[in-house]
Amino acid sequence: MLFDRLRYLGFRLNSALLYWLRRRFTPAGRLVLCGLVGSAIWGVDTTKSMAYQSFTFLLSLVLLALAVSRLRPRKLSVRRSLPRFATAGEPLSYLITIENLEGRRRRGLSLSEDLSDPRPTFAEFRAERNPHDAGPLMKDQRPFWLDRLAGLTRWRKLIERKMPARAEEFPVPDLPPRGRVEVPVRLEPARRGRWSLPGVIIARPDPLGLAKACVQEPMAQSVLILPKRYAVPRLALPGARRYQQGGVVLSSSVGDSSEFMGLRDYRAGDPLRRIHWRSWAKVGKPVVKEYEDEYFTRHALALDTFIKPGQEAAFEEAVSVAASFACSALTQESLLDLLFVGAQSYCFTAGRGLGGTDRLLEALAGAQSCPDKPFSELHASVAGRSAVLSGIVCVLVGYDEPRREFVARLRARGLPVRVFVVTAGPAQIEEDGMTHALEVGRIAEGLARVCA
């Protein structure tokens, strides 16, 4: 516990120091700081080495640069044009407009997004497990033993998970007096989810080019990062058309058109568009039109969110696989239910005019794992809809006994079930035509093999 706390504090301080160095010093300035530290070590005894003279020179240089850099750039107006969506792993490009409110030219400015602090809490650090705890890793994925021993691997993993993108600096073209320039910004979101951008940092180097003066322009905006998607060919999902209670409500535009059956009294919950106004006028009470119920194809995409510690990477890949299928499996003739369990059981339906792929991707962008709930919740959610489903695609994280039983029960109901099992390492799963194993880091290969 004490050792954990000490190294957590060490990592936290180190992280803060590195952030400060990156923010306040240019690459040349950081090099000078390295020289300063080196000369401090070599020149600790002024009688044994002349390096102390380098030390005092470099120290004066750094102190002067820091003092001069207190003069911060002001009177700037900044505006950001951010898109609504982006995709994890794909570049996100947008423009930031900077306006010079002063009557003199500004040169040498740079800007960067002020990303939120990615450092984990001590509880998160303690709860995190080493990557190899989940199973053996490939040689090129194994962390350096010293990093693992010191806990640096865990720290890096958590930072990567909380850091939406690499903080990069973009040069600002020369700002004419009272003019404006547009700076193209290109970031690469690493993870799905809602990404908050609290503001922009504008930096100006000091005349020596060592330290930077920074001004933070608050400008809170957010962008939804959709899950990463793999190229998958259209999946041939078997299954017959099923009776859909409610019929045309679910198919307002295309497909089997509605057949008028007759009129009946209004029941609570009937949509307004079904009210037959003329009959209401005649009889004095609401009357609705009744249509023949419909039969059409409806598939479910069930995502496993019940992960164990160490399966976070597999879960992320499972979300990506689900997103890939959500994009490819949806047709104009069928419905697709996306089922997963988070804080509660969710079902998002798309297709036949009810909504497009974007709706499912938004839902998947926000999908969270629920390690504290039993897998049976997903089972219950899927089983409750099995009567109307033509087929199911399950994206599972692991293939243990409860999951096998889940699949077996669905198959026992006569439902065709295609199972994709995402695992952190090579998995011992008996693959058949309907069950496939996908390994983290080789998902694209696995999907290409499955769909070939």
Binding site: T26, P27, A28, L31, V32, C34, G35, G38, S39, W42, G43, D45, T46, T47, K48, S49, M50, A51, Y52, Q53, S54, F55, T56, F57, L58, L59, S60, L61, L63, L64, A65, V68, R105, R106, R107, G108, K139, D140, R142, F144, L146, D174, P205, D206, P207, L208, G209, L210, R442, E445, R449
Partner: protein, 654 residues
């Protein structure tokens, strides 16, 4: 951003000038700048960088080993620091002469070599190398006034390139001038600060007494308040001759004057000792001479030798000079850092100078008190040997050993307080009291400082003496010879040993290992070891030069590197390609296998049926490009098919 032209060469020349290695620095400077003139650069793979990095590392470790075995530790570190640019110049040259212009960081560290590539893992090492040159030049400690301006000029030159766009040159120059002035003033004040801190720290560290023994005076802890602490470090290792007992006391110095709680060697000069038959002779060889060997670490090769009483000669080490005082102290100068010397001793002989008036002097402030005790004990009326025995009994019976005292510092009355009130103290109290009481009784006496030999180590099979075994006792002139009188009660050894920490055994084992290594380091075996090291370096250098030669044969313009190894590189299909190439139907580098077969099958007289080879080509392609690879059965089919086709082709040719 790479270094501007000439900067690295200037830095190397500056380094060479400061370290006195201008002869090596000049070719290095030419090496790092000549690529700009020739324009010749090479395509170096990561493996080439790794190899060059390994070569630099070997060079570095060779320097470490060479300096460790040939120089004292502190000197070795600074010399190594001064030589560092030499070790890393191959790495810098590899970057400068490479087409990439940067070094892949993974090549520098063995543990990173399996890591997948990242864009951030390439680095330009020219500026870090510049810093290394500046630090190394400083480590040379060539205290010339040119160091500061030259160093500042090089840094300004380097920073001129880093000047941001739009920055005023005048502002930059003004700031740089201010930096130079501040830095110059700062370095002067820093040197003064260190002198002041050292002065204060020396008083703080050594002010409470301890094992430090100086030939001219001893700083004692009389009146010291609190607990005296001395280290457990092993200071000496003593091995007596077979069948002889180890001496109980080893004397490093003796003093004849007591002034203000200090013992001084008054009016004493050191005279050179003659070296006869590789022995430093202190007196004629006695009839009952025996030898003991003592191992001691001498700080920078100088110090006092702790010797048993009656030492007539010391030998077994080389030294620039050995001197002795008439009080019996033997000093070595320009000797080895670790000396194992053999002392020729006798139980009867003594070679200290005869007593004089100084050996009877009693401080005026204590004379009355001492005379009273002498009277009470009746020391004056006894023969010297009897007086010694009586004094020994006096201290044994009425006093106790203690390393702790509380209350205010008694000042000059420390001795009086010890003799009349507390009757407890450490060895310096007992030795001082004994010497002064003897003098008050008319017996010439001196104060001796050295070590008590009392701990036998089973691990080392020798007597070991720790810092906390530092001891003081009296020397009395009785019956025309100097006799040792250890007035400290015998319980002192038990008190000292009780302070040993629980990890002492482990530390002793480490100390023993370090001692053996140190002996080997300073032994003659080193020369042969260095020869082996040099041979290994030459071999390694030859291997790496061969590798560099191979690299050099791949200039950028004519780079036609073989394809990187990959799955299926051992496919037998290449035999088919080779065979057809021999027959003049070579596949173009840009041509796909299938197209090639179609093309050559259409050539009249080629006798190649594309259909017969198509299935083999398919298997080959699967082996090369299918992530799942090729099943064993398919691989066998490919081998068999190719073999059969080659045999058929052979027959056809015949």
């Amino acid at each position: 951003m790479s270094a501007p032209p000439g900067l690295l060469a200037a830095a190397l020349l500056f380094w060479g000038q400061q370290t006195g290695l201008l002869g090596l620095a000049a070719p290095c400077a030419v090496l790092v700048e000549s690529w700009r003139l020739t324009g010749r650069r090479f395509e170096l793979a990561r493996s080439d960088f790794s190899r060059i990095s390994d070569f630099s590392a070997i060079l570095f470790f060779f320097m470490c080993a060479y300096l460790y075995f040939t120089r004292p530790a502190n000197e070795a570190f600074m010399t190594l620091s001064a030589w560092l640019p030499l070790a890393f110049v191959p790495l810098l040259a590899s970057q400068l002469y490479s087409a990439q212009g940067t070094v892949d960081v993974r090549a520098l560290f063995v543990f990173m070599r399996n890591q997948p590539a990242k864009p951030a893992w390439t680095a330009d090492i020219s500026y870090p190398y510049l810093i290394l040159c500046l630090l190394a030049a400083g480590a040379a400690n060539n205290r010339t006034p040119l160091f500061y301006p030259e160093m500042a000029l090089l840094i300004c030159w380097a920073l001129w390139r880093a000047r941001p766009a739009g920055s005023s040159a005048a502002a930059w120059a003004a700031l740089m001038i201010l930096t130079c002035a501040l830095g110059y003033e700062g370095q002067k004040r820093l040197a003064l600060l260190q002198t002041e801190v050292e002065k204060q720290a020396t008083g703080f560290i050594f002010g409470n007494g301890g094992a430090r023994i100086e030939p001219e005076e001893t700083v004692m802890a009389l009146g010291h308040i609190g607990r005296l602490k001395q280290s457990e470090r092993i200071a000496l290792r003593v091995a007596p001759a077979a069948g002889r007992q180890a001496p109980r006391l080893l004397r490093a110095a003796s003093y004849n004057a007591y002034r203000a709680r200090r013992w001084l060697a008054w009016d004493v000069t050191f005279s050179p000792v003659r070296e006869e038959a590789s022995a430093w002779r202190l007196g004629p060889r006695p009839a009952d001479a025996a030898e003991i060997s003592v191992s001691i670490a001498l700080e920078q090769g100088s110090g006092l030798l702790p010797l048993p009483a009656g030492t007539s000669a010391v030998r077994g080490f080389a030294a620039g000079a050995v001197t002795r005082s008439r009080l019996g102290a033997v000093k070595v100068e320009q000797g080895p850092n670790r000396a194992v010397f053999h002392a020729e001793t006798s139980r009867t002989a003594a070679f200290d100078g005869p007593p004089d008036r100084q050996d009877l002097e009693v401080p005026a402030g204590t004379a009355v008190m001492l005379s009273q005790i002498v009277r009470e004990l009746g020391l004056s009326s006894r023969r010297p040997r009897q007086a010694l025995a009586l004094l020994q009994r006096f201290f044994d019976e009425g006093f106790r050993y203690s390393l702790f005292r509380d209350g205010p510092d008694p000042g000059p009355e420390a001795l009086e307080e010890f003799l009349l009130k507390t009757r407890a103290g450490h060895c310096e109290y007992f030795a001082t009291a004994a010497v002064l009481l003897l003098r008050a009784a008319g017996i010439p006496a001196r104060f001796a400082a050295g070590y008590s030999v009392q701990e036998y180590s089973r691990l080392e099979r020798a007597w070991i003496v720790r810092d906390r075994h530092a001891h003081a006792w009296a020397l009395a002139y009785a019956d025309s010879t100097w006799v040792e009188l250890d007035a400290t009660p015998a319980s002192w050894a038990a008190v000292e040993n009780g302070r040993a920490p629980w990890w002492e055994t482990l530390r002793d084992a480490c100390s023993w290992a370090g001692y053996r290594l140190s002996l080997w380091r300073w032994s003659r075996a080193l020369n042969s070891w260095l020869i082996v090291l040099c041979a290994a370096l030459v071999f390694a250098g030859w291997k790496w030069l061969s590798a560099l030669k191979a690299v050099g044969s791949r200039p950028l313009a004519a780079a036609n590197a073989p394809p990187p190894p990959g799955p299926g590189r051992d496919s037998p299909w290449y035999d088919v390609e080779q065979r057809l190439a021999q027959e003049g139907f070579a596949r173009h580098s840009w041509e796909a296998g299938g197209s090639w077969l179609e093309r050559i099958s259409a050539i009249p007289g080629s006798k190649v049926e594309a259909s017969s080879l198509r299935s083999l080509l398919d298997l080959h392609c699967r082996q090369r490009f299918d992530p799942a690879g090729l099943a064993a059965a398919d691989r066998e089919a490919l081998d068999a098919g190719v073999g059969e086709w080659l045999r058929g082709r052979e027959k056809l040719a015949r």
